[in-house]
Amino acid sequence: MASVPHIAVIGGGSTGIGIARDLAMRGLDVTLVEQGNLTHGTTGRMHGLLHSGGRYAVSDQASANECIEENKVLRDIASHCVEMTGGMFVKRPEDTEEYFEEKLEGCKACDIPAEVISGEEARAIEPHLARDIDKAITVPDGAIDPFRLVVANAASAEEHGARIETHSKVTDLVVEDDEVVGVEVEHQTGPDKKVRGTEGGTEQIRADYVVNATGAWAGRIGDMANVDIEVRPSKGVMTIMNIRQVDTVINRCRPKGDADIIVPHETTAILGTTDEEVDDPEDYPEEGWEVELMIDTLKELVPMLEEARTIRSFWGVRPLYEPPDVGSDDPTDITRDYFLLDHEERDDLHGMTSIVGGKFTTYRMMGEEISDHVCDQFGIDAECRTAEVPLPGSEDFSVLRDYMDEFGLRSPIGRRSVERLGSRAEDVLNTDGPNPTVCECEAVTRAEIKDAISQSGANLNAVRIRTRASMGNCQGGFCCNRMASELHGEFDEQITREAWDALLQERWKGQRHALWGQQLSQAALNYALHATTQNRDNDPADGEPVDFAAFDSGPTPTGTSGQTGVVTDGGTRDGD
């Protein structure tokens, strides 16, 4: 064995990236592989709630305890990813008093700061709450940007020597003598796939230990070594509102049910969610009734949602796991706790552990536990420092600045930029050249786009998750082309077009579920703009040469002298 063990981590979601950072900070040699972009799986498809633990305070106090602990840690180490909005559990007249009391007791038992306020007080905080809300319990819920958090973890892991490979899919596990000794990886090729190792083609990555952190995909990795991992993927829909109807996380105070949470997230509010088991984490139906259910149910808490503008909906798949002997029928009964499956103990397969279940809020804690486990394998006694060392971007910084003087930016644009960039703001925003706003809805300037391109190459969806560009109310209608043109110079036309197309497709995917009312108008305007200025309406000139002979020459001039008619382009003849 080499003096420094090499660990391969599979999965570039919050769990995998948290493990990679932790191990790298402990001095281990780490390679992380992810089949898509960072956050490609479940992490990129969540509602962005930083749990206080309140949601689990009755049914799952172990999870609740972990949540409140990690909630405090993340506010500290990831301040530029977190907005401490506060949250409340609101009780409608038809929700039971018993459960309300249980919730309050549960919060207290788990040391979650909780306070009862009257309906009136709740409406003073959130004026759009329904008039008939009886009362509420306040808790320290918050909002967190999963993309920013994962990107910051990746940056930190790389700073500590880790190799992060995105667009690199594990095709097989290398198993020798009942021990996993590496992974076979297929790297996608192309400058939009920022591959650090071998560009394109396959690679065998030998490792002293493998961590399977693929969440809902864990069973597939298990299959490669003939071990059974019964992840029970469960889908949930999330609907994004154009603006924030509430500035506080609003939870419905009732045992369990669909559509019971509203999370204010950046410029938007996200409604969630449902819980329905699916067979395949990559292939499941996305249905209109699920979106309608969100709005119809949550308008009981915030009536104005009924008329409010929805900009898109997306589905995520929870990587739920329960020990095979529990056997819950309903996915909402499955614990949100995480499980460390040591395949040596479990399946006599050495060299690999899988981590399944768990929640985004506790990603760091899961990383710590599995890193401890990995270190144990090698007798390494290294201290975990991920709870103390701030992530890149969350070192000391202040959002209160003179944005015009410092960066030449209008106040809300500068403020949003600095909130996203955190302590990196100066490095990114102090540019020599002009720095126009590229995405007006989300206030993203050219400098920030350029910075994201330098991190992720010609992949505009990767630029999107780093900056929020194209994630506002026009859903990229006005800025996708501008983002694409920022690739100019470094990348050729073909690559730029592909990246641009991929971004537009991704934007369209979620908008399909919001095509009524105002977002339908938006989509119609976007269509017209893209058709008329970018030839995106399948113009016949795109591809096959145009058969000009097929056009007639216009109406035949009729008779009277001097009237010679018009030429075929509609203009008048010279000399008329």
Partner: protein, 455 residues
């Protein structure tokens, strides 16, 4: 009649205290407005300031975009460019999606001035003095001749520009030696008006007790400066058999909205709504001769303030010519009339932006094109550029004149050498840019319909 109106003057003379101008209330919630914007930028292409000022980010940014970006738990600053908006309100008209842009701008500007502006700065006090024109005018009206002399004295103006940032390029409007209200009182006030209206009704064969009564909102300018407009209003309305009352009133608030002085505006609005809505209750309609005054009472009041009776007042407020076109056969009378004398002239007519927003931009042309003895030509749909106090600010003067260029040009090309408009500050700008005399449509109606308007 007037004794019924005893306005309470809250807080006058006291120190300015920022208060919560917009308490959380569904009425003022701008969320639906922000939801309506689909970023098409039609507002930006219709903004006269954005057209001449590349630094100005435009109404879309000032309104729905900034509103959406600053939603957060934390307090976000309003960008200071909101002070470059002239509040012409053209964006309201331009928007195909019904975004309440001017309401968003007024709200943001109010917040900026109340929360972020240095209340000891020269800009703040300059803006405050400009927007409280009524106070200055009231003072000047005490000694109008001295005021007219002193206010336009070269050295005084130089000093005002240097110390206060009030441009020395413009001439201050002349103060009347007798205010409209002084004239009104001398003339017999409401009682006198009632008699004249009754006489007119008899002549017209109308029942003597016909329900024709209006409350005149003259605004500051007709009272202190162009009193002839106020007088014309009274005579024309009496000619049609209306009893006019002139309730106690302050400023409509228009210049205060444009300068973000919402507390001042509210104070005046409380006076106006109190006295005017009482009359509306009694069956009076509110009539303004200034299109910005009618705009304020109709649109900005209910959008910005929650005062008892404000919605009723808004629903019953009309511009003076508009009202007659609705209720009287003024068209037939104008067709039958012939104008002679001073007002038998060709007029270059400019429709103020605020009249445009009320759908009144064609009323003068449609009315007077059938009047014998006078001609009227619309000089186009550009903004005059002065926008009340905007063009009086030294740093805005050049922009104001650049916006006005198109209108000046069209006025030069129009046949007449007399201008016409409903808005007193547009009139200032028209006169400043061309040297023409500027008249109000009511003056021409009076000349055409009211015999030998002696009293």
């Amino acid at each position: 009649m007037e004794s019924a109106f005893e306005p309470t003057e809250p807080n006058t003379g006291e120190e300015f205290e920022p208060v919560d101008v917009f308490p959380d209330s569904d009425d003022f919630d701008l969320r639906p407005g922000s939801d309506s914007c689909y970023k098409c930028s039609t507002c930006d292409t219709n903004c006269p300031v954005a057209e001449v000022d590349d630094e100005f980010p435009g109404p879309k940014f000032q309104g729905p975009e900034q509103w959406r970006l600053k939603q957060s738990e934390d307090d976000y600053d309003i960008d200071d460019s909101v002070m470059d908006c002239s509040n012409c309100m053209r964006c309201d008209n331009a928007c195909p999606a019904g975004v309440p842009l001017s309401q968003m701008h007024n709200t943001a500007r109010g917040e900026y001035v109340s929360e972020q502006m240095d209340h000891l700065s020269i800009e703040y006090w300059r803006n405050r003095i400009l927007s409280n024109y009524r106070t200055s005018a009231w003072l000047a009206s005490k000694t109008p001749r001295l005021a007219n002399f002193a206010m336009n004295l070269g050295p005084a103006r130089w000093l005002m520009e240097k110390t206060m940032g009030v441009t020395k390029e413009r001439e201050f409007p002349e103060f009347a030696t007798e205010t409209f209200r002084e004239w009104w009182d001398k003339r017999g006030a409401a009682a006198g008006s009632k008699e004249r209206a009754q006489a007119a009704r008899r002549e017209r064969g109308l029942p003597e007790d016909a329900d024709k009564k209006v409350a005149y909102f003259h605004g500051c300018y007709s009272n202190y400066n162009t009193t002839e407009v106020g007088k014309a209003m009274v005579r024309v309305y009496e000619h049609f058999g209306y009893e006019v009352v002139v309730p106690e009133q302050g400023c409509s608030g228009t210049p205060m909205f444009a300068n973000g002085m919402l507390e001042d505006a509210r104070r005046h609005a409380e006076v106006n709504v109190s006295s005017m809505s009482d009359l509306v209750d009694q069956g009076y309609d509110a009539i303004a001769s200034c299109t910005s005054c009618s705009m304020a009472l109709r649109q900005e009041y209910p959008e910005l303030f929650d005062i008892d009776g404000i919605d009723d007042l808004a629903a019953n407020t009309f511009e003076s010519i508009e009202y007659l076109r609705i209720h009287e056969d003024i068209r037939e009378e104008i067709q039958a009339a012939e104008v002679s004398g001073e007002l038998a002239d060709e007029f270059a007519y400019h429709a103020p932006c605020h009249s445009r927003n009320q759908g009144l931009d064609r009323q003068a042309v449609e009315l007077f094109r059938e009047l014998d003895g006078a001609g009227i030509e619309d000089v186009g749909e550009s903004c005059s550029g002065i926008s009340g106090t905007y063009g009086w600010k030294a740093e805005k003067y050049e922009k104001s004149m650049k916006i006005g260029d198109e209108m000046f040009d069209h006025m030069e090309h129009a046949e007449g050498e007399t201008g016409m408009t409903e808005c007193p500050t547009c009139a200032m700008q028209m006169e400043h840019g061309t040297g023409y005399d500027i008249r109000h449509p009511l003056e021409l109606v009076e000349a055409a319909l009211v015999d030998g308007h002696a009293v």
